[in-house]
Amino acid sequence: MSRSTNLSEAKLVRAAPVFAALGDPTRLRLVARLCRDGPLSIARLSESSDVTRQAVTKHLHALSKAGLVCGRRRGRESIWELELQRLKLARASLNQISQQWDAAIGRLKAFVEK
C-alpha cells in the first residue's frame, strides 16, 4: 500500500466521528445556528425549537466529543461556539499582535542603529 493511501485512510478514520456527529438533524441544526449567529447559550439554542434544553445539552456534548463545538462557562450558564471559529479568531488576533510586534521591532531597529 502506498504512503499516500495510508494517510488518507488515517484521515478517513479521524473524520468518521465528525460525520457521525453531524448525522442527526437536530445536531446539524445546532451547528448551522452556531455558524450563523456565533457563540450562544443553551437557553438561546433551545428557543424556537421543539427540543428540550436537556436534549440540546446532550447533543452539544456529542458535537463537543467530535471536536466540532466547545463550551465555556460564563456566570451560571454555558456558552457554546464552533471550535473552528474559536481557532480562526484566536489565530487572527494573534496575527494582529504579531504585526504590531513587527512594527515595534522596526522602530527599535531604527532607534538602536541610528
Binding site: A90, I97, A104, L108, A110
Partner: protein, 151 residues
C-alpha cells in the same frame, strides 16, 4: 502549549548589546521606540504605567508589571495584551508574559522577543479586541482613501 498561545520574533540588530539593552531596559528609551511615555523606571516587581504616544492610540494607558531583569541578557514583564478599550478595568484578567533575550552575534545583537499566555485570555476578549482593531484599520483605510481623493 498550543499553536495559538505564543508569538516569537527574532531579529539581528546592527548595534552593540549594551546599546540594545539600554533601548529595552531603560524606560525612557523603551518609550521612544515603543511609543509610550512611561512614568517610572523598570525594576523587578514594579508596575510601570504610561500614556501611549503612538498615533491613533493616544487615549490609552499602558501598564507593565516588570517580572525579571538580568542585565544585558534578559528582560521580562507582564501586561494585558488586549487592553484597548478606555475605561475598562482589566486588572482581574489574565496577562501575557513578554520576554526579551539578548545575545551577542557577529555584526550585532540577536534579539528574541516571546509573548506567551494568549490561550489564558478569554476568547470573548480576543474576539472583541480583534474586531476593534479591524474597525481601526477600516477607519485608517478610509482616511487614506479620503486623503488621496482630495489631494
Amino acid at each position: 502549549m498550543s499553536e495559538t498561545d505564543r508569538i516569537e520574533k527574532k531579529v539581528t540588530l546592527r548595534a552593540p548589546r549594551s546599546r540594545v539593552w539600554r533601548a529595552i531596559a531603560n524606560a525612557d528609551q523603551f518609550g521612544e521606540w515603543f511609543g509610550v511615555k512611561l512614568e517610572a523606571v523598570f525594576a523587578p516587581g514594579i508596575t510601570v504605567r504610561g500614556k501611549i504616544t503612538y498615533p491613533g492610540y493616544e487615549h490609552l494607558t499602558m501598564e507593565m508589571m516588570v517580572e525579571r531583569i538580568e542585565p544585558e541578557t534578559y528582560f521580562a514583564y507582564r501586561w494585558h495584551p488586549y487592553a484597548i478599550q478606555p475605561g475598562v478595568d482589566y486588572s482581574a484578567e489574565p496577562t501575557t508574559l513578554v520576554e526579551f533575550r539578548l545575545e551577542e552575534v557577529e555584526g550585532g545583537t540577536l534579539l528574541t522577543i516571546v509573548e506567551s499566555g494568549f490561550d489564558q485570555i478569554p476568547a470573548a476578549r480576543r474576539a472583541e479586541a480583534f474586531r476593534m482593531n479591524e474597525q481601526g484599520w477600516a477607519v485608517q483605510t478610509r482616511n487614506i482613501e479620503k486623503y488621496v481623493s482630495e489631494h
